[in-house]
């Protein structure tokens, strides 16, 4: 009956459709097709950041990040060379290539690893740059979509030590690789010169604007700052740039860890039980061996509280398991491990900060003193700051451990303000305005550095064309923030800015305040020097005016007055003790009361003014004039200086 009524309904619909929607007649049913992952990602390429002008930037980024991950996982000092070259200006065709000395990919896995979306060796609970297994595939899919060129891959994996060569394309409708060519490469024809490694060459159709090109430069130079242990070679049509390795120290590679019980959900628990499916094992054992910070004892307690009884783990129903999950959510556990995180660390970040590589375009500086030897018009400049400092905090945000690292580089070759943001060692280049780091920088006052906004403006404002009214941005200061976590709270799918989650902002502020305090002495010293320079300059400008005024009015040896005055001024600036004719309180104001008042003041005041009234004239009317001389003043001024 039911079927009948449904049929009837369909007929009715069909009838009505005939009248008003003739097309409905031909398509009465909605088709539920499975879309291949590859098709989905190509259609929604923005999800992976492959949009419009950013294609080359994203491609380069993905390749470099893959290479770095591939080296770090085995503690190999990375040697990476990348290049982008335009091969067909009319049709916007570019060749992009990347070669590394990482662990390579096992020859059997190469086609899927390069072409099949959502295939990755990285689906584990630890910090890595890439996570989703999308980037490389995106390059392959775009190359297949837009060009007739194959993707060329050379791989010499650490477990095979034989170099394989592939020519691949992606079957976008099925998410499967098409292998056009596969061969082993003989030793004499080796492309990969290292013991192991990986090389990919792909052709892409893309446009590269000036802005994006600069973003690529930024990306590479910033990558080299947080990866100073890698040797990076970048080549494009403007030339070749080498970012040298500055240290052999590498960060401890991230270890895989078990999930934290507070982060448990039904799915993870079911998966954990499934791992033991062929063994008869108690649920307590499953819990304690599948999650961190969960002892067998604790597991027993969980089972007791959740009142689900005791049977073999695989016999529990979903409703029982959800009780376990709920209990775990309520329960207190030790803070999660941070072993799966790989912070940059003080030594490495400091190395990076001490020698910041900046790409200099010789086009911008037509009269470059040092045109690079090979005649190319770009070069690197290495910025050496006068001091750096580092601070970090480990915190737990939403049950996920997160490490905040903050660095500061000040002075030296650095002549302007810049904020660098990194997430899991990846530079973030876009959307700075909405990033939590931006907020942190504007909210931590520079008075933590022991200087006032006014001082910063007075001393640094003319050094640059910075129109910002934020005082900190006037300083020659580079601030680095690195957030590492297995799940970075990105603000948007573009992964370019970080939102403040939980107490993250608070701790970021702690780190920055810390660093401000540490550099305060140096900055104060610099300010002092600047102030002294300014003062000397002022003396140079104003002493002639004073000397003119004096020598105009009275007979005096002009030259001698000028010489001596300048001498006194210089000594004064150098803080050699030069008494002022009238010593004064710090605010430059004295309160010289008449005699009876003075005696009262002598008792309860330390001011040295009591001796300043050496000469006093009674003046007509009640206007007063006192240009005072003081014979006992020297000693007092000395005290004055000591107090300061």
């Amino acid at each position: 009956m039911k079927i009948n009524s449904k049929l009837e309904l369909r007929y009715k619909k069909k009838d009505s459709g005939n009248i008003s929607h003739p097309t409905l007649h031909n398509n009465p049913k909605i088709k539920y097709n499975k879309k291949a992952e590859s098709e989905f990602f190509v259609d929604n390429s923005a999800l992976a950041g492959f949009t419009g002008e950013r294609i080359l930037y994203m491609a380069l980024r993905e390749l470099i990040e893959n290479s770095l991950d591939s080296c770090e996982v085995h503690h190999i000092l990375p040697n990476i060379s990348v290049s982008i070259r335009q091969i067909d200006i009319e049709n916007d065709l570019w060749t992009i290539s990347c070669q590394d000395n990482g662990v390579g990919i096992n020859s059997e896995k190469v086609p899927v690893a390069v072409c099949s979306f959502l295939t990755s060796g990285k689906y584990v609970e630890k910090q890595q740059r890439g996570l989703f297994g999308v980037g490389l595939k995106m390059i392959a899919a775009f190359s297949t979509k837009d060009t007739d060129k194959p993707i060329k891959v050379w791989s010499k994996s650490i477990d095979e030590e034989i170099e394989y060569y592939y020519e691949l394309r992606t079957d976008i409708t099925t998410n499967k690789p098409i292998v056009l060519n596969k061969k082993t490469v003989t030793k004499t024809e080796n492309v990969i010169k290292y013991k192991h490694g990986f090389k990919i060459v792909a052709t892409l159709r893309a446009r590269l604007s000036h802005i994006t090109k600069n973003k690529i430069y930024d990306y590479i130079s910033q990558t080299s700052i947080v990866n100073p242990y890698s040797e990076l070679v970048f080549e494009n049509d403007d030339g070749k740039i080498i970012f040298k390795r500055r240290t052999d120290i590498m960060p401890e590679p991230a270890k895989e860890v078990l999930p934290h019980p507070a982060d448990m959900d039904l799915q993870t628990l079911k998966k954990a039980i499934l791992n033991f499916s062929n063994q008869k094992i108690s649920i307590q054992n499953v819990l304690s061996s599948s999650f961190q910070k969960l002892s067998l004892e604790k597991a027993r307690e969980i089972i007791r509280i959740s009142e689900i009884g005791n049977k073999s783990a695989n016999l529990f129903s979903e409703s029982d398991l959800i009780k376990v999950v709920n209990v775990c959510k309520q329960m207190k556990f030790q803070s999660p491990h941070t072993d799966h995180l790989s912070p940059i660390g003080e030594k490495i970040l400091t190395t990076g900060m001490m020698a910041e590589y900046v790409i200099v375009n010789n086009k911008d500086q037509v009269k470059s003193v040092n045109p690079s030897e090979d005649g190319h018009n770009q070069n690197v400049r290495i910025l050496k700051p006068s001091l750096t400092s580092y601070s970090s905090r480990s915190i737990v945000i939403n049950n996920r451990p997160t490490i905040i690292e903050c660095g500061i580089a000040y002075g030296g070759d650095i002549n302007s303000f810049k904020l660098y943001r990194f997430a899991n060692k990846i530079p973030l280049l876009y959307d700075e305005g909405s990033d939590v780091a931006r907020e942190v920088v504007s909210e931590v006052g520079i008075n933590k550095m022991g200087i006032t906004k006014k001082e910063a403006k007075e001393q640094f404002a003319n050094n640059q064309n910075n129109k910002s009214d934020r005082a900190v941005e006037l300083l020659p200061l580079h601030i680095f923030f690195h957030i590492c976590s297995t799940k970075i709270p990105y603000k948007s799918a573009g992964k370019e800015s970080i939102a403040s989650e939980g107490e993250m902002k608070k701790y970021m502020k702690f780190c920055l305040s810390d660093l401000y305090r540490r550099v305060s002495a140096q900055i104060r010293r610099d300010l002092k020097i600047k102030d002294d320079e300014n003062r000397l300059k002022l003396y140079k400008y104003y002493i002639p005016l004073i000397v003119d005024a004096v020598s105009d009015s009275i007979k005096v040896d002009r030259n001698r007055l000028s010489e001596l005055f300048i001498e006194i001024a210089e000594k004064h600036v150098k803080k050699e003790i030069i008494p002022t004719a009238i010593s004064s309180k710090d605010n430059g104001e004295t309160n010289v009361r008449k005699k009876q008042m003075m005696s009262a003041r002598e008792k309860n005041s330390k001011t040295e003014n009591k001796n300043t009234m050496v000469k006093e004239e009674d003046l007509p009317q009640n206007l007063s004039k006192k240009v005072l001389r003081n014979k006992k003043i020297e000693k007092l001024t000395l005290d004055d200086f000591n107090r300061r």
Partner: protein, 368 residues
């Protein structure tokens, strides 16, 4: 003229002494030179019960070229002192703006050029500093400001050798009170009383009505805040010529402030009070109570601002306004929160102010 030259020599001498002290500091003392100058402003101004006027306290400011800020200030003071010496030496005269132009220059090299004065305010300050350092008011340096005070009535002045009878044309116009007071001398005063009003518009109305002739009065105004010449003229008339002086200003805290300028002085010029303030002048109006006693219609009253209220509250605490009458007036103002200009009497007719209100007030005060 010889007396004047003697005074000029005195001024030059004082400035030279100052310069000598600066050069001695450097050449003999081998130390940073410094100037000690009386501090001016509210925190160094005190009420003198004895003199019944605001006087300068003992606070001093040290100006020595020992900090980034003070280097320019110090040289500005000396440059100005030298310019004034030159002006006096050349027997010339200048306005304060003229002094600003005479000393204009730039400092620094090609890369860092800065103006010697950021604005005329700086040079005005420097002139004040020279007054304080030498103890001589700037009028005696022949540095003056643009005149704005006006006078009309039976008084004869000698201005730079010419005799000016201010009663001539007094139905149609008033004379400007010259600011170069060293060139002005009062020759004769035939009036019975002196009446000072806040604004020239009100003065014109009273003058037109024939008040001067009817009451044999001198009419004066400072056109708002009175300049020094106007105040000195009031003082001289009151103290030297023994003429009763009455003051009328608007019925608001601002107007009362202006009226009191003549009677007790001001914070910014408290160092010169002895020359400027006439404690015996009478402030007769316009009282706040007059608004109601003379039935000023509501449309002609003005509502007060928060600033007015603050000012009135401040005034209530001032020692010179502790009299019962003043406290009553201020309390009335704070209660009613209304103020009124003298011009509001025009609502009662153009002649009301000069022919009804003022004579009544003067009779009440026993001046006529």
């Amino acid at each position: 003229m010889s007396a004047k030259n003697k005074r000029h020599k005195e001024i030059i001498k004082k400035i030279q002494t100052l310069m000598k002290e600066i050069s001695n500091d450097v050449l003999i003392g081998k130390k940073m030179p410094a100037l000690e100058i009386s501090k001016i402003g509210y925190d160094n101004t005190f009420w003198s019960e004895k003199k019944k006027m605001l006087t300068l306290g003992d606070k001093k400011v040290i100006v020595s070229p020992n900090s980034t800020k003070k280097i320019p200030t110090f040289s500005q003071y000396l440059v100005m002192a030298n310019a004034i010496r030159k002006l006096v030496d050349e027997e010339m005269e200048s306005t304060i703006r003229g002094m600003y132009y005479a000393t204009l220059s730039t400092v620094g090299d090609e890369k860092n050029k800065e103006k010697f004065w950021r604005s005329q305010e700086d040079s005005d300050d420097a002139i004040k500093a020279v007054e304080l350092m030498t103890g001589i008011p700037r009028e005696e340096f022949s540095v003056t400001s643009k005149p704005k005070g006006m006078i009309s009535g039976p008084i004869t002045l000698n201005v730079g050798g010419d005799i000016i009878d201010c009663s001539l044309g007094s139905r149609a116009t008033s004379q400007l009170i010259p600011t170069n007071i060293s060139d002005v001398e009062i020759v004769d005063v035939k009036a019975d009383l002196v009446m000072v009003v806040e604004k020239d518009t009100v003065l014109n109305n009273i003058r037109k009505s024939g008040f001067i002739q009817k009451y044999n009065a001198i009419l004066m105004t400072g056109s708002g805040e009175p300049d020094r010449a106007t105040r000195m003229m009031v003082k001289t008339l009151n103290e030297k010529w023994k003429k009763p002086v009455v003051i009328f200003a608007d019925a608001d805290p601002w107007g009362l402030g202006i009226a009191l300028r003549y009677k007790i002085g001001s914070e910014s010029l408290s160092y010169d009070s002895d020359r400027l303030v006439a404690p015996n002048v009478k402030v007769l109006g316009m009282m706040f109570s007059d608004i109601y006693d003379y039935n000023i219609p509501e449309v002609a009253r003005l509502s007060v601002t928060a600033e007015d209220i603050n000012r009135a509250n401040d005034m209530k605490k001032k020692p010179w306004l502790q009299g019962k009458q003043w406290q009553k007036e201020l309390n009335l103002f704070l209660k009613k929160k209304e103020k009124c200009e003298l011009d509001a009497f025009f609502k009662h007719g153009f002649k009301y102010l000069a022919e009804q209100y003022l004579p009544k007030k003067l009779r009440e005060a026993g001046v006529i």
